[in-house]
């Protein structure tokens, strides 16, 4: 019997623990697209682009040409330039808003999951209040009162993300706080601050970061929806959402004007979703969890 058990044990040990979780070509294609959009947006000022706001009334809805690679929009503005400048808005709002969410939500979630008790009840309760509002409705109402600007938009979408980040951080902290290494640290007399920052944070960070990427995708969509309704970034600044909204007017004559920003936005959102999901799957111990 003993040999048999040993045999099985060895066999298990020989089979590597490597699971079929390699990052496929799709993952790298997503990374490539994200890099491309990011670089184009960052270098928009340095690239030899036409102005995103200069109108050319003689060249309205011009098709693709050497001068206008992707043609011009309903006011004769260069479509490619506006797409690239639009990427700036989407990325600035899309990246900054979840930073607010991950910082405040992450901190609240970790504190709630570590200290428990009344503080946890208070945090979870107040998040329930925030979650009681359908997110887009709250975003619309607040932009209506505060006024439309990139800063306001980022802040509102950031605050709306706090409950979700709080839940992820709290759930991760709850399970981790009971693990041996935390108990060991407590036994060694480590302070709460040290346990939270040195023991828990490095472990909570990865699931939070995977969720951050999904948050970026959601925020880009939300910003797009608000701009599409004309309640996002004020004109003449171009944003993918407002470009799709403007393109809708000329769907019969030039469907390209709605579809170009739409495809760009779809690919970007899809990329963030793909990368976020791949990272989440890596950090999720349950195999094949959706």
């Amino acid at each position: 019997m003993a040999t048999l058990e040993l045999g099985i044990g060895e066999e298990v040990a020989v089979t590597p623990v490597r699971r079929t979780r390699r990052l496929g070509p799709l993952f790298w294609a997503a990374i490539a697209w994200m890099t491309f959009v990011f670089v184009a947006a960052a270098l928009a000022n340095l690239l030899p682009l036409l102005s995103p706001t200069d109108m050319d009334m003689l060249e309205r809805r011009a098709s693709m040409s050497a001068q206008h690679w992707l043609g011009t929009d309903g006011l004769g503005r260069d479509e490619l330039t506006r797409l690239i400048y639009g990427a700036r808005i989407s990325l600035i709002v899309g990246l900054c808003a979840p930073v607010i969410g991950i910082t405040i939500g992450g901190a609240l979630g970790m504190l709630a999951g570590y200290f428990r008790g009344r503080f946890e009840t208070l945090v979870v309760g107040s998040m329930d209040v925030l979650l009681a509002f359908p997110p887009l409705i709250l975003a619309l109402a607040v932009t209506a009162y505060l006024g439309q600007s990139i800063l306001n938009l980022t802040c509102i979408l950031g605050v709306l993300g706090i409950p979700a980040f709080m839940r992820v951080a709290r759930a991760a902290t709850l399970t981790l706080a009971r693990r041996e290494f935390v108990i060991a640290a407590q036994a060694l007399g480590a302070t709460h601050t040290r346990i939270l920052l040195r023991e828990l944070l490095p472990n909570v960070f990865l699931p939070l970061f995977a969720f951050f990427l999904l948050g970026v995708a959601v925020t880009i969509v939300a910003e797009g929806a608000l701009s599409f309704l004309g309640l996002g970034v004020p004109p003449p600044v171009s944003s993918w959402g407002s470009m799709i909204g403007e393109g809708r007017e000329s769907l019969e004559i030039a469907p390209r004007l709605a579809f170009l920003p739409a495809i760009t936005m779809f690919l970007t959102v899809l990329s963030f979703n793909l990368v976020g999901d791949a990272l989440r799957a890596l950090t999720d111990p349950r195999q094949g969890a959706l």
Partner: protein, 316 residues
């Protein structure tokens, strides 16, 4: 069960109070004086002062909140200073449109999502399953306003089968009403089915590995009976839980879809109130929608407890 319902109901009270407080604070603390909005920029300071006094805007914030809440609890949400309509009238007029839209969307979403989920779960890991899971994942990245544009282009501009915008009430012209609602509902359903499919599929795969399913197979029951009668109900628990989240997304989606397709629903009322700075309507509608959303989530919780006895006995 009764104790469980009572506990959940009691929890609703502070949440609803906080929701009303937050709605009120957003409306009153942020810049933009209501009196100026009503009278316009040309108003003399005396006139503005007089109106502020009439409306009670010169009272302290906490007092205004208490008196507003008092009116709300008596069913008085105020009236629009633009149309003279009360908030409740405006909402009652538009609510049926939104509800019809969301119901249709949910029905289409379930009609696509549930069969696909079952088909994928039965052949999990097959080419079909992987293709559909991939498609669903891709569809999750398509925002409502994007699929709306695509559907309008396809069915209204190119094929000319359906109208792009407009609305007739169901009572006046049932087929016309449905024709106007197909595209908006389809738009919302495009965003709904991937979530339904993903959740149901993974739960279904787990259920199909249970012993009682093997027993049902051994008894020689028909595959369709096993899938729909034995496996569907225990697999739909997570689906019911996420319904609450779905409703929230559906309300947000309905807001965009109603604006695009010019449907006179709650979402359009809200967007219109924002454009015209009709703050009373805005405040009333936001409160009603949020309160309705909280109550719907409560109902979902209850439904969940009915489906799964472990929840109501407090050891889930």
């Amino acid at each position: 069960m009764l104790g469980f319902v009572a506990r959940r109901l009691l929890y609703l009270v502070p949440v609803l109070i906080a929701v009303s407080l937050l709605t009120f604070l957003i409306a009153s603390l942020l810049p933009g004086d209501l009196a100026y909005v009503i009278l316009g920029d040309q108003a003399t300071p005396e006139k503005v002062e007089a109106l502020r006094h009439d409306m009670g805007l010169d009272q302290p914030v906490w007092w205004r909140y208490i008196s507003w809440l008092g009116h709300v609890l008596q069913g008085d949400f105020g009236r629009s200073f633009r149309t003279g309509q009360t908030v409740l009238q405006a909402v009652a007029e538009r609510l049926p449109v939104s509800i019809e839209l969301m119901l249709l969307a949910e029905i289409i979403g379930l009609a696509i999502g549930v069969p696909l989920a079952i088909a994928c779960a039965v052949r999990s890991g097959s080419v079909f399953d992987r293709f559909m899971t991939g498609t669903a994942f891709g569809m999750l990245s398509v925002p409502a306003f994007l699929s709306a544009i695509l559907l309008i282009y396809l069915f209204a501009v190119e094929l000319r089968w359906l109208p792009a915008t407009g609305y007739v009430p169901f009572r006046e012209d049932p087929t016309g009403n449905l024709r106007f609602l197909v595209l908006p509902a389809l738009t919302l359903a495009v965003a709904e089915w991937p979530g339904i499919m993903r959740v149901l599929r993974s739960d279904m795969i787990a259920t199909l590995q249970e012993d009682y399913i093997a027993l049902a197979k051994a008894k020689g029951l028909k595959a369709s009976r096993i899938l729909f009668v034995h496996a569907l109900k225990p697999s739909s628990l997570t689906l019911v839980t996420i319904t609450g989240i779905n409703i929230g997304r559906l309300i947000g989606g309905a807001l965009i879809v109603e604006t695009i397709f010019a449907l006179p629903g709650i979402g359009r009322l809200l967007v219109g109130a924002i454009y015209t700075r009709d703050l009373i309507i805005l405040q009333g509608v936001v409160l009603l929608v949020a309160a309705g959303f909280v109550l719907m989530n409560f109902v979902v919780d209850m439904l969940y407890a009915v489906l799964d006895p472990r929840i109501r006995h407090g050891h889930a």
